[in-house]
Amino acid sequence: MDKENLIKRISKDSGIKKKDCYDIFDKVIELITKNLKKGKNVSIENFGDFIIQREEMKIFIKKNKTRIIVPPKDVIVFESDKLLAEKLIAK
């Protein structure tokens, strides 16, 4: 599903002009990304949580005795709402 379809539906559902819908939608997405960029978690009721997790540094040792050092990494993990996940997986 892409943005245009989504906006159409939102506009229909809320009775607000398409253009305004675009602006508000963009703002909402911007708010989420801004917070994630600052390193803050975002939790949204009935949808899911965006959580920033740190993957610790790992060291692999290969059979030929080379070691590979993988540096730590911060990643975003999405934990969807349980009900939503159930609906989605059941379908």
Binding site: D2, I32, L36, K40, N46, F47, R67, F78
Partner: protein
């Protein structure tokens, strides 16, 4: 940040009543969820993709789960503390005499990890101390120091290894 904060931010930005803004935000997430259920995936520019993926459990049973793949830019920004750090390959000399090679390696790794963590926290502390948005300018500082540390410690390791019998 949570939904309430998003609602109030939207209400301020667009001069809407909190009630109206709340409805609008609820509507957006409702449609997002419904769209996800209908199409099994949502793709948004500058944000990323949420879709259904199937994984195999250790017992070889197929499992479905929801995965979020952030856009490249976003992923990079979130990871900016370690962005410039790359994988490092270290070749070790073969040592047939040391049967418990792996143990030896792990021991070194623990030490390395410890030193790394200690120093990493120190570096991060300095950068995080005086600001709200630390990361912008510190992006180069942290990784450079860490990379130096990587190298220093690994060089030490290899020197120690050379001095070992065998």
């Amino acid at each position: 940040m949570n939904k309430t904060k998003i609602k109030s931010a939207v209400s301020i930005e667009f001069a809407l009543s909190i009630e109206k803004a709340g409805k609008m935000v609820d509507c957006i997430f409702k449609e997002l969820a419904e769209g996800l259920i209908r199409n099994k995936s949502i793709k948004l520019q500058k944000f990323g993709k949420i879709n259904l993926v199937s994984k195999k459990s250790p017992e070889n049973v197929k499992l479905k789960s929801i995965a979020y793949i952030p856009s490249k830019k976003l992923a990079r920004r979130v990871n900016n503390n370690f962005e410039n750090l790359k994988k490092i390959k270290l070749a070790l000399e073969e040592r047939k005499e040391l049967e418990s090679n792996d143990k030896f390696d792990y021991k070194m790794s623990d030490e390395f990890l410890k030193q790394y963590r200690e120093n990493k926290d120190e570096v991060l502390k300095i950068v995080l101390e005086d600001n709200d948005e630390p990361v912008k300018n510190s992006r180069i500082v942290i990784p450079d120091k860490l990379i130096k540390l990587h190298k220093e410690i690994t060089e030490e390791e290899s020197k120690e290894k050379d001095n070992l019998p065998g």
